[in-house]
């Protein structure tokens, strides 16, 4: 490689930030270019952490700072710039103030109405704070929400949101996944063990990896991130791969608007995530576990890191886990504001220090994944389900839920509900029962619509409240459980505003790699803006029928021809609002379009 590196020196603070992460440069020669060949190239995965270190310390990435990172890691400056500019929370220019407030403008916070405007106005009134719009911060039960960041040593993060809510079902004996949340001190390993912690790992060691695989397969566990792929099959495929090492990635990039269940688990029961990953690593032959955590979850990052450190100190992670000969350790890797990085192959590129663009499949991650190795990627909630499966067996696990959707599911309830929050219910619970658990709609107002599965999911009308929430029933009804998002819109809600926001969200979050998604999400938003303007009696070119047909045409191409799930689902919610909720008063799809 022919590296042309900038000779402009970084500021002392920038140098300290990067050296704090990478260690001091090796000798005077390294001031010009870091030496090390293959050793240096093996450090590429530290690119995003190094860029993060700059932003946390000085608030932005300057050309000098970027140049220094590039020099230390032997990465071409242009490539480092391509990576830095991919992420929304890595500013490339100085922020004018000491604090930056990321104010959520997504669905649940929009439903908070005036309180949202008040929060924004209050933050903007501070001359030392710059207000920037943010997609969903995963604080929907506390809407309206903002995350205020202050760079420095150490950096500070402050949440501005409604008061924290304890899990409403706290203490309910039927809870499986949430049973320790808000009951057991999440920072205390001994308390975790006293409440059943590490019993599952002990049983895993007793029965061996093959039996663990069999239990997970027999339990019928499927992924909880939205795609519902059978976890046991994924594990078996990786376990059977001869190439070594294998990698385990815990997908904690929870960014689907309206989703916050994984945050509740990670903040409230971080040792469960660590133990479940250890079992997954044991069963699939992975020595390295990565938690890809979205950058906007500073508390979860701290809790997980503390849990990992505590577990390692007690021999529950490391070269010889529990003295049973298993070598397994976990690293927390922070994302930086990119919904697309929740896509399983985009995670790999992001960790490896490349732009978080999804890869073409095949090859699938179980064959060629992180660093080109066989890789298991599981959502946080999926992994935590492994604990009861291994501890009590597949048969016991299957006693709850339905035949095709066994077990329990976490749902993220937000919108105008009496008690919004995370709820754990057996699969098969109806939407009506779920809303009742949350105390129903505020002031007893009627439900106008429910968004299931988030921005990539779909709207259902009040006629579907008796829909049992299972994979099979939602699929048959043309909707999805997705990641467990349930956003409620009452009769006062502006559904067009919500649909427009979903379109804007996908436009912002498209990685831009493939044409159907990159341009399709733009044309989709433009058509919705025209349709909405027409509703408001503004004079815009074209016709309602023409724009609806355009949406259907673009949506179908995005669904059929996009590389990854983002583009393939970017039209789902919009379509369901047009066809199911009749938001434009002309719902009939034209012949032959579907």
């Amino acid at each position: 490689m022919d590296l042309k590196l900038t000779s402009i020196e970084p500021s002392p603070a920038e140098r300290a930030a990067v050296d704090g992460l990478l260690g001091p440069p090796a000798g005077a020669a390294a001031l010009r270019a870091e030496r090390g060949g293959s050793v240096l190239r093996a450090q590429r995965h530290r690119l995003l952490p190094a860029l993060w270190a700059l932003v946390e310390r000085v608030g932005h990435i300057s050309p000098e700072g970027l140049g220094y990172v590039a020099r230390r890691l032997g990465v071409p400056p242009a490539e480092a710039y391509g990576v830095a500019s991919f992420y929304a929370v890595l500013p490339l220019a100085p922020m004018p103030t000491a604090h930056v407030a990321h104010v959520c403008v997504d669905l649940s916070c929009r439903l908070a109405g005036e309180r949202s405007a008040e929060l924004r106005a209050r933050l903007a009134a501070d001359p030392d704070t710059t207000v920037v719009d943010s997609p969903c911060l995963g604080l929907c039960e506390r809407a309206p929400a903002a995350l205020v960041s202050t760079p420095g040593a150490p950096p500070q993060h402050r949440l501005e949101a409604a008061p924290r809510r304890e899990v409403a079902q706290r203490g309910d004996a039927s809870l499986v996944l949430l049973r320790r949340v808000d009951v057991v001190d999440p920072t205390d390993l001994d308390a975790y063990r006293a409440h059943g912690g590490y019993a599952a790992l002990r049983r895993a060691f007793d029965i061996g990896p093959t039996e663990v695989l069999r239990e997970v397969l027999d339990a019928g566990l499927v992924g909880r991130g939205g795609a519902a792929f059978p976890t046991g099959r994924k594990w078996q495929a990786v376990a059977a791969q001869p190439a070594r090492p294998h990698h385990l990635v815990c997908n904690a990039d929870e960014s689907e608007p309206g989703t916050f269940k994984d945050r509740v688990l990670m903040e409230g029961d971080p040792f469960a995530v660590v133990e479940a990953m250890t079992i997954a690593g044991f069963a699939t032959g992975c020595e390295h576990g990565w938690i890809y955590l979205r950058g906007e979850y500073p508390l979860a990052a701290r809790r997980l890191q503390d849990a990992i450190d505590a577990a390692r100190a007690k021999g529950l992670l490391g070269a010889d886990v529990m003295g049973r000969g298993l070598s397994f350790d976990i690293e927390v890797f922070r994302g930086a504001g990119a919904y697309i990085c929740g896509e399983e192959t985009a995670i790999f590129n992001s960790i490896e220090g490349y732009r978080g663009e999804p890869r073409s499949k095949p090859p699938f991650p179980v064959e060629v994944g992180l660093f080109g190795r066989p890789t298991v990627v599981n959502n946080v909630e999926t992994l935590v389900n492994v604990l009861p499966i291994v501890q009590f067996g597949a048969a016991a696990y299957r006693r709850v839920g339905t035949e095709s959707s066994p077990g329990t599911k976490l749902f993220c309830l937000s919108g105008p509900l009496v008690r919004p929050g995370t709820y754990e219910v057996p699969f098969g619970t109806t939407l009506r029962e779920l809303l009742a658990l949350a105390g129903g709609v505020v002031d007893g107002r009627p439900v106008r619509a429910v968004l299931l599965g988030g921005a990539a999911g779909s709207f259902v009308g009040p006629d579907r409240l008796d829909l049992p929430l299972t994979f099979e029933d939602t699929r048959a009804a043309g909707t999805t459980v997705g990641s467990g998002v349930v956003i409620v819109f009452d009769d006062r809600a502006d559904l067009l505003d919500a649909v427009g926001r979903i379109a804007a969200f996908f436009r912002d979050e498209s990685c831009g790699q493939c044409v159907p998604c990159r341009v399709g999400t733009v044309r989709q938003e433009e058509a919705l803006v025209r349709l909405t303007a027409r509703r408001d009696a503004l004079d815009v070119p074209g016709s309602t029928a023409g724009d609806l047909q355009l949406l259907r045409d673009v949506g179908r191409a995005m669904r059929d021809a996009s590389i990854c799930g983002l583009g393939q689902t970017a039209w789902n919610a919009v379509e369901s609002a047009i066809d199911g909720l009749d938001v434009f008063g002309d719902s009939s799809p034209e012949e032959g379009t579907e």
Partner: protein, 319 residues
């Protein structure tokens, strides 16, 4: 001179394309099969000397058993595949890709687009009149994850002034479809210079140097490998760019002559593209066993000893 690389004999697989049984070497792609069978398949981001990026999606085909369409350029052949290249689903997505690109990018000098638009009934104008071009540097300053609310009267485009920051070639990104070929060719696939990257995200993605510094301040070594792979005329030698800009472009008065580069002992083939007895571009055949279409700065641009450079006044080059 051409040499045939020695390859290990590969197994063949049988697959069905549009109802016809075909046999193809394992490891090949559906596009290879389509081309061998004479099934015309549009491609834009595909390059014969590069690893497919399958970014443009204009080559998608229907593969039975898969939920979505698959890109022919990168999907490997497998035993028993059943492929449809002209189904209604395929035609719809190809049409939409052409419309989406045609409405947002200047494809006026892209080979094949006019015929494909005709064939698939694509109407890029359907999204409304094009928005005004961006000012110089505006797209490069886009903030990731943000955009302005769309103007309901117009369709967004990537139109912007060309970047002319060096004497050798022009970057006219209003014509860029983001096929990534220049990035891959400048980077690990050929040149190993890594002067450019895809920057930003979504519709704001652009090909850029670090912090959009000018090419002379970047790592660029002017081998022009990027020019050789650009499918849309977004990257052009300055001489060709000026011919097109001044309206002097006259394909009927052009011819190409292939010769051997006189500079060093490697012996790269040069193809001199000439109009009115003046060289406006130098390329190398992409199937040449030494160059694979690549050249260095001397081969690509060092023809001043046959033809002194023109002076450029405020109105363009002196003719």
């Amino acid at each position: 001179m051409t040499t045939q690389p020695v390859e290990v004999a590969r197994r063949t697989v049988a697959l069905t394309v549009d109802g016809q049984l075909h046999h193809a070497a394992e490891g090949g792609t559906l596009l290879d099969v389509c081309r061998a069978a004479g099934v015309d398949t549009p491609t834009l981001c595909y390059g014969d000397t590069l690893t497919p990026r399958n970014a443009c999606r204009v080559c998608v085909v229907e593969l039975e058993g898969t939920r979505t369409l698959v890109p022919a350029c990168s999907r490997k052949v497998e035993e028993g595949q059943v492929v449809h290249t002209d189904s209604e689903r395929v035609r719809h997505s190809r049409k939409l890709v052409l419309e989406l690109l045609g409405s947002s990018v200047d494809l006026s000098v892209t080979d094949g687009v006019a015929a494909w638009n005709e064939r698939y009934g694509a109407d890029p104008a359907r999204f409304g009149p094009a928005a005004a071009p961006a000012a110089a540097g505006e797209r490069d300053a886009a903030v990731t994850g943000e955009h302005h609310l769309p103007d309901p009267a117009v369709a967004a485009t990537v139109a912007q002034p060309p970047k002319e920051d060096n004497p050798l070639y022009v970057r006219d990104y209003g014509k860029c479809i983001l096929c990534y070929k220049c990035v891959d060719a400048c980077g690990e696939q050929w040149q190993n210079t890594f002067a450019i990257t895809a920057a930003g995200r979504g519709f704001s993605v652009r090909i850029a140097t670090e912090f959009d510094v000018s090419l002379p301040d970047s790592a660029c070594v002017y081998g022009g490998t990027c020019l050789a792979v650009c499918p849309t005329g977004a990257l052009l030698p300055t001489a060709e760019f000026d011919l097109r800009r001044t309206g002097a472009w006259a394909p009927e008065r052009q011819h190409a002559t292939t010769t051997v580069c006189p500079y060093c002992g490697v012996g790269c083939n040069l193809t001199l593209h000439v109009q009115d007895n003046e060289i406006f571009k130098v390329s190398s055949p992409s199937d040449h066993s030494v160059t694979h279409g690549n050249l260095c700065i001397k081969g690509r641009f060092g023809y001043v000893h046959v033809q002194p450079p023109k002076r450029r006044g405020p109105d363009g080059p002196d003719r």
